[in-house]
């Protein structure tokens, strides 16, 4: 059975410095759970995402799709001249602009939910539910492979860097 060791911190600045010290010591920090987003976690844990590229594609597709819809409606299906304006007209831009934002945002949101396997009403299993309140939880993954000396060293490092509580967890999504 896979286990993780959790270091629980009270303050985000202490946590940031703890990550620096642990990484300098060669310890891999797998993840951090916090009540709010913290500046600096992203670069320290070397997290990456392709979500912005997906947003760009959705936006581009959205703009083209909305244009095609408007073109079909006002040029092909029901060509109605008013105000002397051309059928394929500049005023499409406003709807294209709004539609692009809407499609881009909505599909990005759905992609995010899909990738995270989330849906409304899902029961999320957290390593420590207090990370939604006032605790900052640092996860060191797969510690069952460590020998006793390594575990001891890890515990010592977590204590030294300011963890107020150290515990094991079997909640595992950090392969």
């Amino acid at each position: 059975m896979k286990t993780n060791i959790l270091g629980i911190y009270e303050d985000e600045d202490v946590l940031l410095h703890a990550i620096d010290k642990l990484q300098a010591d060669g310890i891999v920090v797998a993840d951090v759970y916090s009540p709010f987003p913290i500046h600096g976690i992203w670069s320290r844990l070397k997290l990456t995402t392709r979500l912005p590229y997906a947003t760009f594609v959705y936006g581009a597709v959205g703009a083209v799709a909305i244009f095609m819809m408007l073109y079909w409606m006002s040029v092909v299906s029901y060509p109605l001249k008013f105000g002397g304006k051309p059928l394929n007209t500049l005023s499409f831009i406003i709807i294209m602009f709004v539609g692009t934002i809407f499609i881009g945002t909505l599909l990005t949101f759905l992609t995010y939910l899909g990738r995270e396997k989330m849906f409304p009403g899902k029961q999320v299993v957290l390593p420590d539910p207090r990370s939604t309140e006032d605790k900052f939880v640092l996860v060191i993954a797969n510690t069952e492979d460590m020998n006793e000396q390594e575990t001891k060293h890890l515990m010592k490092m977590l204590k030294e860097t300011g963890a107020t509580e150290i515990k094991e967890s079997t909640v595992n999504d950090h392969e």
């Binding site: 500046h39 600096g40 670069s43 912005p52 105000g83 002397g84 500049l90 831009i93 406003i94």
Partner: protein, 388 residues
């Protein structure tokens, strides 16, 4: 921490050579071209560098009002630009020699035959025009000088008292700026076409000043870092500057479209006349260039995170935007003056001259005060922590 910018002799020499080039170009303009065109060219460059300085100062005021932490180390750059306002005041005052060449509404005989100009005469008359000019510049110079001197006193004394005073002055400045800069743009640019008006026009000028002012700050910060002055300028700070430029390029395009689309849709001859020489005549290429350099390029270029964090690429984007603001003002001014589109060496030389003057004044002011506001309460946050 008390480090000041050292101006090298080479920098001063280059700036002086640029100024001399500018003076030669202006003289050549008056000798070889008609006076109206040269006055219009002078107006363009005067307004250009005023808008850069005012946009940068507006950015500074925004930082104080929002109590932003990341930007604390860069506030001296707009503060140095505030000294250019005095130079700009003198240069704009010289423009009064050319008002009859530029502004149709200043001719009494033209107003006498024109009911519309008579209707506008209570606002558009020379004494009130001059009064507004003096009052606006007075307010801008007073308020920015006050913010700058408070910031310099904070350097000596410390504490948060000056921080809140600067915040209050910045609030006043933002309101004064929004109102007065709008009227200033109406006075000097929109009244070139005294029969035409657009309510979005001043908003676009305001956004354009803010947009290109921030770009100028980013460029100066990056250049100073390359010279070894601002070691705290991290990738995140560059990303923050490019976020400003990126967002403002969208707002700029929004304002451009708001003005164009409404006039296009309503199709009222009095309003569409403004776009006839711009979109259909000789200015056609410049019309689309304006959109390309101010919106399409920064929007698509700075969208990529890697570009937005790379100082050389951001510097390149700013160089394009420097041309962009010139094109924007060229399209506002020149088609109202004459229907012939011609950019000669005189235009280029005049711009180089003004750029030299602006660079010299800003550089000299930067060298006269500590580059980093060392007692700013948020300086630690700006120089040590990461910002996204």
């Amino acid at each position: 921490m008390d480090k000041k910018v050292q101006l090298s002799g080479k920098f001063k020499l280059i700036m002086l050579v640029m100024i001399v080039l500018g003076v030669i170009s202006v003289i050549a303009g008056f000798v070889t071209e008609n006076g109206t065109r040269t006055w219009a060219n002078l107006l363009l460059n005067n307004y250009y560098f005023l808008s850069i300085a005012m946009g940068a100062l507006f950015w500074m005021a925004i930082q104080a009002v929002t109590q932003s932490g990341w930007s604390a180390a860069y506030l001296r750059i707009p503060q140095a630009m505030s000294n250019y306002l005095i130079v700009s005041f003198v240069l704009f005052a010289l423009m009064f020699l050319g008002v009859h060449d530029l502004y149709h509404w200043t001719h009494a005989d033209a107003v006498a035959q024109d009911p519309l100009l008579q209707h506008k005469a209570p606002y558009l008359n020379l004494p009130f025009f001059a009064l507004r000019f003096v009052v606006f510049f007075g307010l801008w110079i007073f308020l920015t000088y006050r913010i700058k001197s408070l910031s310099l006193r904070e350097d000596k004394v410390g504490g948060v008292a000056y921080f809140s005073k600067i915040e209050f002055s910045s609030k006043v400045f933002i309101f004064v700026f929004a109102f007065s800069f709008s009227l200033f743009s109406i006075d000097w640019l929109m009244s070139l076409d005294p029969h035409w008006y657009s309510t979005i026009y001043v908003v676009k000028k305001f956004i354009s000043a803010f947009f290109h002012g921030v770009a100028a700050i980013a460029a100066i910060a990056i250049i100073l870092r390359k010279l070894g002055y601002l070691p705290m300028l991290t990738k995140e700070h560059i990303a923050n500057f490019s976020r400003y430029i990126f967002a403002l390029s969208i707002i700029w395009a929004y304002m451009w479209l708001s003005q164009y689309l409404l006039i296009w849709y309503a199709n009222i001859p009095e309003e569409t006349i403004y776009y006839v020489p711009r979109e259909m005549g000789e200015y056609k290429t410049m019309f689309y260039t304006e959109l390309l350099v101010n919106w399409a390029f920064p929007f698509l270029f700075l969208m990529w995170n890697r570009v937005a964090k790379n100082e050389n690429l951001v510097l390149f984007a700013v160089l394009v935007l420097i041309v962009g603001q010139w094109v924007e003002l060229y399209m506002s001014i020149m088609p109202s003056i004459e229907l012939k589109h011609a950019i000669s060496l005189i235009e280029v030389g005049t711009f180089i001259g003004f750029a030299g003057l602006f660079g010299l004044v800003t550089g000299y002011s930067l060298s006269k005060m500590p580059l980093i506001p060392k007692n700013h309460p948020y300086l630690l946050e700006s120089t040590t922590e990461e910002h996204f």
